[in-house]
């Protein structure tokens, strides 16, 4: 199969790549049906001029529901000539598993489109779902407890998490059994909440919106090399976590090196600005494959105050609880335990 690549100079409007007899149009993050309709028609025009080609409209990260896409396909079917329609399809889903309308692409096409999506590089901006506030509030309670900060007000929790009083109150009621309520209405954890913590760890990847990036050059950069480049980005919304961050807080952590760089990205709004990834290394591409070694892992910190610790040389540090989650996510359980036990407040807790 020929290598997948974007066409330098477009022969057809709306066609991004031509691979063998496949014309591919790529429209990332489409949110309106109108965009789908226009793209479909442009691809149909190109197919009318290329009777031997098949056309694929690829919609990575599409916000339009599958039902509405199928409705749009039915409408297009009613007006397009059958000799064009039979060679046309829409592809959605993840790069590794594309779903087609009216049929899935064959394996060779699937590979070609996956390569194209990878070649397009990490997307600069991600649309985010609503933050998981119960997770956030519990994380804050653990943070304050581990660092021996003492009790906190509901107002502090609201402002730091970035949520309303009722949301915080609901979460506190849910975790009532773990809390001590003081006479001045401040709260704090009674002890380290082992069971709740285990639940948080289990859901942390989803709750924190972890995004993984793998090397596509065959020459992956080391975390040290990536850190060097991160220093020059001067982004206040980025902090270093993972093994590097944990070693910042606990230099004696028993681990040598790290195969990946964990980065915490502060994104309290509805989008995450991922433009730093390309500057970090243009060879990084987002991956959904859990078994693929990732060079960079980005964890989204959704609360209002990221609690980053200012560091030296343009780097900030993710808070210790984020680092702890990172170690668990990396399956570095002995190191996670060691790091957790390094906090003075953990004495006699486990």
């Amino acid at each position: 199969m020929k290598n997948a690549k974007f066409v330098g100079e477009r022969k057809f409007a709306g066609v991004d790549a031509e691979i063998g007899n496949r014309l591919i149009a790529m429209k990332p993050r489409v949110a309106a049906l109108r965009s789908v309709r226009v793209a479909l028609m442009q691809l149909a025009y190109a197919l009318a001029e290329r009777p031997a080609s098949a056309g694929f409209l690829v919609l990575p990260d599409v916000s339009v529901t599958p039902e509405r896409l199928r409705d749009e396909w039915r409408l297009a079917s009613s007006v397009l000539r059958s000799d064009v329609l039979n060679r046309l399809s829409i592809c959605t889903g993840e790069a590794e598993h594309l779903v087609g309308i009216p049929q899935d692409p064959d394996a060779e096409t699937q590979r070609a489109i996956s390569d194209l999506i990878a070649a397009a590089g990490p997307r600069a901006s991600l649309s985010l779902a609503r933050p998981e506030y119960p997770f956030t509030v519990m994380e804050l309670l653990v943070h304050q407890w581990l660092l021996g900060k003492g009790p906190m007000t509901t107002k502090w929790l609201m402002e730091t998490a970035g949520c309303s009083y009722p949301t915080v109150a609901t979460v506190l009621r849910r975790f009532e059994h773990c809390l001590v309520r003081h006479s001045d209405r401040r709260v704090q954890l009674r002890a380290f909440p082992k069971e709740e913590w285990a639940r948080l760890v289990a859901v942390s990847e989803k709750a924190r919106g972890t995004v993984r990036f793998a090397d596509r050059s065959g020459q992956p950069r080391s975390p040290d090399s990536l850190l060097l480049r991160l220093q020059h980005q001067d982004r206040k919304d980025i902090a270093v976590g993972g093994v590097v961050g944990a070693r910042h807080y606990h230099p004696r952590l028993d681990i040598i090196g790290s195969p990946r760089l964990d980065i915490s990205l502060h994104c309290p709004g509805k989008t995450a600005d991922m433009s730093f990834i390309e500057k970090l290394d243009p060879a990084l591409a987002r991956t959904e494959k859990r078994d693929e070694p990732a060079s960079v892992i980005v964890h989204l910190v959704r609360r209002a105050d990221p609690l980053f610790q200012t560091g030296e040389a343009g780097l900030a540090w993710a808070d210790p609880v984020e680092c702890l989650f990172d170690l668990h996510e990396a399956r570095l359980e002995p190191q996670a335990r060691e790091f957790l036990n390094s906090f003075p407040t953990m004495k006699d807790q486990m």
């Binding site: 020459q219 080391s222 243009p282």
Partner: protein, 301 residues
């Protein structure tokens, strides 16, 4: 093109030329890059047909060129005829039509030595020929473009001759090709006709990839030595050259067919032992732009 051992070829050249001319010789091109990156590994070979020898400084180039040519003929190196030249030129041959000194070692048809020199002045970017009158006939010593960058701080070898710095050969190629031009190589590269620009810019990418294999942050060091070499070699117009360093490479990375030609030359050249895909080569180019070319361009503004 044949597979040759860079160290063996360098040793053979050094042994064949007059001892007092060795310091005038700098090997450039794929052989120099091959020696730099895997000269210490006898099992790794370079696919090349020529060993480009740059004679410098310019003021000694003619005398060194004559001495080297005479000595090689004495040692039975053979004139390499081509479609245009079956024998060396003579005193009536115009300078710009003289054959280059291209000589095969005795009994070794696989590769040949070719003599070149640096331009006479920083402002002389055109291809020029200067006559080498030897007892075996008349030859032309060619100089052009940015060759003067390749004799900046060359790297010495144990054989007494030097090799050009790979990053400066890369810079010379980048500056030589501010756009992809249509001229093709005179011969086929592994059955394919290849544009010269794609071959030379492909060499840039190969050098970048090999440099990163050796030290992952190597490209970050390139802008400093690039700027230094340009300021020394082109004191009047280094700044304008800096601004166009990445133009041809950017064009290459945006043209899949040209990039594929570059990949093909790498696969049949310096990267033969681990050929990259076109996409991997494109990523090498993006890293090179980010780590070396863009910082250089910024400092030139």
């Amino acid at each position: 093109m044949r597979l040759v051992s860079p160290a063996t070829v360098l040793k053979q050249i050094a042994a064949a030329v007059p001892e007092d001319c060795r310091e005038n010789i700098i090997i450039i091109g794929s052989l120099a890059a091959g020696y730099h990156f895997f000269g210490d590994n006898a099992s790794l070979m370079v696919r090349t047909k020529d060993a480009d020898c740059l004679l410098s400084p310019r003021i000694e180039a003619i005398s060194a060129g004559v001495a080297v040519t005479e000595r090689l003929f004495q040692r039975n190196w053979q004139f390499r005829p081509d479609a245009k030249w079956s024998t060396p030129g003579n005193e009536s041959t115009p300078d710009d039509q003289l054959p280059a000194v291209r000589l095969n070692p005795p009994g070794v048809p696989e590769w040949f030595i070719e003599l070149l020199t640096v331009p006479e002045s920083p402002s002389d970017m055109n291809k020029r020929w200067v006559r080498l009158a030897t007892s075996a006939g008349h030859f032309g010593l060619c100089s052009f473009g940015f060759l003067s960058l390749t004799n900046y701080q060359p790297i010495s070898t144990p054989f007494g001759i030097a090799i050009a710095r790979p990053e400066l050969m890369a810079l010379a190629n980048l500056l030589e090709h501010p756009e992809i031009r249509p001229e093709t190589m005179s011969g086929l590269i592994a059955t394919r006709e290849i544009k010269r620009s794609n071959k030379d810019l492909g060499r840039v990418l190969a050098i970048a990839r090999l440099s990163v294999s050796r030290s992952e942050d190597a490209l970050l060091d390139w802008p400093a030595i690039w700027q230094e070499a340009m300021q020394v070699r082109f004191p009047d117009n280094w700044r304008s050259f800096m601004g166009r360093t990445g133009a041809g490479l950017r064009q290459l990375l945006n043209r899949p067919n040209d990039l594929d030609e570059a990949r093909h030359t790498c696969e049949h050249g310096l990267l033969a032992s681990a050929p990259p895909t076109s996409e991997q080569l494109r990523l090498v180019g993006l890293r090179l732009l980010q780590d070396a070319i863009e910082p250089l361009e910024r400092s030139g503004r």
